[in-house]
């Protein structure tokens, strides 16, 4: 049997296709402005990569900020649950997850696969991917280079502003004063790591600590967080897909509890026409099933 998990983030959409034992394929693409229209396109790419057709998938679970608008998903599950499942499957010893996304940052405390505590910032761009995107752009650096550049610094600059807008100004001011770019970038990483740490410590950090999301791919940020935590951090090989992986695993569990007749019935209800949802939020059309 085959299962799929789709995690629609504000910035990036991730899809993982599994069988009962392992990951078969995964796809990571930018969500774009109209995620309702992109989801089925990205799924088509994931299927092509795995060599499947849509009908081969026995159960599909959607998660992430865009999960309600996936007309081909068989059910929706919250991100926290999916991240927890995904990470626990990859590394059962993880007790604290720091998920650094494009527009938010979360702390998830896990014990024996169950959620113990949770904290999130989705109000302020500081501590999220957005901050780094903006600073990289203003300094003329590619986003994927910002981490490695920060590691070159021997003397991180003091960045006193946590607000992205003012930090951007401060960074440019430092640059005009002749401060080396790696020191500025390192200062930015330090400030953001402090901000993230300040939030996460409220859920009492315990080892093993995992970092997921786009922020986990930033070596500079991970190093700074490790320094603040005074603990080693574990980063999964593909930190962006833990949510989609968890969704696929949950899809497998849900399917196992349904007989094959009912499964076919569920499959037939899937809609692959994204145009159905174009233009307005059709909240009355979508059914939201409860998560574990």
């Amino acid at each position: 049997m085959y299962f799929a998990g789709i995690d629609i983030g504000s910035t990036i959409t991730k899809i993982v296709i599994t069988n009962q034992h392992k990951i078969l394929s995964s796809v990571i693409q930018r969500t774009g402005a109209e995620h309702r229209r992109r989801a089925h396109q990205i799924m088509a790419d994931a299927l092509a990569k795995a060599g499947f057709s849509a009908d081969d998938l026995d159960y599909i679970v959607a998660t992430g900020y865009g999960r309600i608008n996936v007309p081909f998903a068989d059910s929706q599950v919250t991100e926290i649950t999916c991240h927890m499942r995904g990470i626990s499957w990859l590394s059962p010893n993880v007790k604290t997850i720091i998920d650094i996304g494009g527009q938010d940052c979360k702390g998830i405390k896990v014990k024996d696969g169950r959620l113990v505590d949770f904290i999130m910032n989705d109000k302020c761009a500081a501590g999220t991917g957005r901050f780094f995107e903006i600073i990289a752009k203003v300094l003329g650096i590619a986003l994927e280079d910002i981490g490695p550049i920060s590691l070159k610094s021997k003397n991180p600059a003091e960045i006193s502003n946590l607000c992205t807008v003012f930090a951007e100004q401060e960074a440019l001011l430092r640059l005009s004063e002749g401060v080396p770019i790696e020191d500025i970038v390192a200062g930015i990483h330090k400030a953001n790591a402090s901000r993230i740490y300040g939030m996460i410590r409220k859920i009492k950090i315990e080892e093993v600590v995992a970092i997921t999301g786009g922020g986990a791919k930033n070596v500079g940020l991970c190093r700074c967080l490790q320094d603040r935590l005074q603990m080693p951090v574990w980063i999964p090989p593909e930190p962006l897909i833990t949510g989609a992986l968890g969704a696929a695993l949950i899809a497998g569990e849900k399917a196992a509890r349904i007989n094959s007749g009912a499964l076919s019935g569920i499959k037939s209800k899937r809609r692959w026409d994204a145009a159905t949802f174009f233009g307005e939020d059709r909240k009355d059309v979508v059914s939201v099933s409860s998560d574990q």
Binding site: F131, N161, T164, V165, F166
Partner: protein, 257 residues
């Protein structure tokens, strides 16, 4: 006695000359990232306006984040005290001030002599200060001075869910793409900023006799929206832009004698 006051801020630099308790000359310039030049230029301008030489100044006081760049050994006075004293000079009957500056917003209670009784300041967050107005003006491709008139034309202010300038900017761009009229977008953003300020006035229990100052007071749309949400009128003194500089001059004069 000629007294000079300087207020060197991140966005604007201001200077005043007072003589026997009257305002004789004022000057205002954008700082544009160069504090030393702004200080030099604004001082020259205000002296020329008063028709006096630097040597004729008896006392000078300064405030503002850029005051550290003033070479002369003149007293550097707290912004809060200067703004309060200066606004009191301009409007002796008010007992409360709302200041919407470039980096923060502030709410102040003062006594009948213009001294600070209590105050609250917003976090250094662009969405809680006049900075958000600049950002949105850029997004909409309008001058910051057009925001006021535009907002007054709004029929249905757009709703914004974010409280962060970065996310608000993205939302504003979406609203433009959705075809929401520009006046409605501006009014929606004014509402976001107003909400943050009203939270502070509520905490200080301000219910009237209130002045509005800072760059944000230039925006008539913001002023009207705040009056609506607050439920009382706001007085914007004609010389509100130099209130801080006036306060610096008056306090320096008092300390000097």
């Amino acid at each position: 006695m000629f007294v000079a006051g300087l207020d060197i801020g991140s966005a604007f630099s201001r200077a005043v000359i007072m003589h026997n308790g009257n305002l004789v000359s004022t000057a205002l310039r954008p700082t544009e990232g160069n504090f030393r030049k702004a200080i030099h230029d604004v001082l020259s301008e205000v002296l020329a306006g008063a028709g006096i030489n630097p040597s004729e100044i008896d006392v000078m006081g300064a405030c503002g984040l850029g005051a550290v760049f003033i070479d002369q050994p003149i007293p550097k006075i707290a912004d809060l005290s200067c703004l309060s004293r200066g606004t009191h000079f301009l409007l002796p009957d008010i007992r409360n001030i709302i200041e919407v500056g470039n980096q923060y917003s502030r709410v102040i209670k003062i006594n009948d002599r213009g001294k600070v009784a209590d105050s609250l300041v917003s976090d250094k967050c662009a969405a809680g200060s006049g900075r958000i107005l600049q950002i949105i003006a850029n997004v909409l491709g309008v001058g910051i001075d057009e925001l006021g008139p535009l907002s007054l034309q709004a029929t249905r202010p757009a709703k914004f869910t974010s409280s962060c300038a970065v996310f608000l900017e993205t939302e504003a761009i979406s609203r433009v793409a959705e075809g929401i009229p520009v006046p409605d977008i501006v009014a929606g953003l004014h509402h976001t900023l107003t909400t943050k300020i009203v939270a502070m006035t509520s905490r200080l229990q301000i219910s009237g006799d209130c002045a509005m100052t800072g760059g944000g007071a230039m925006d008539q749309g913001l002023v009207r929206m705040m009056e609506k949400e607050l439920g009382f009128t706001l007085q914007v003194p004609e010389q509100f832009m130099v209130a801080g500089a006036i306060g610096a001059a008056l306090i320096a004069a008092e300390r000097g004698t």
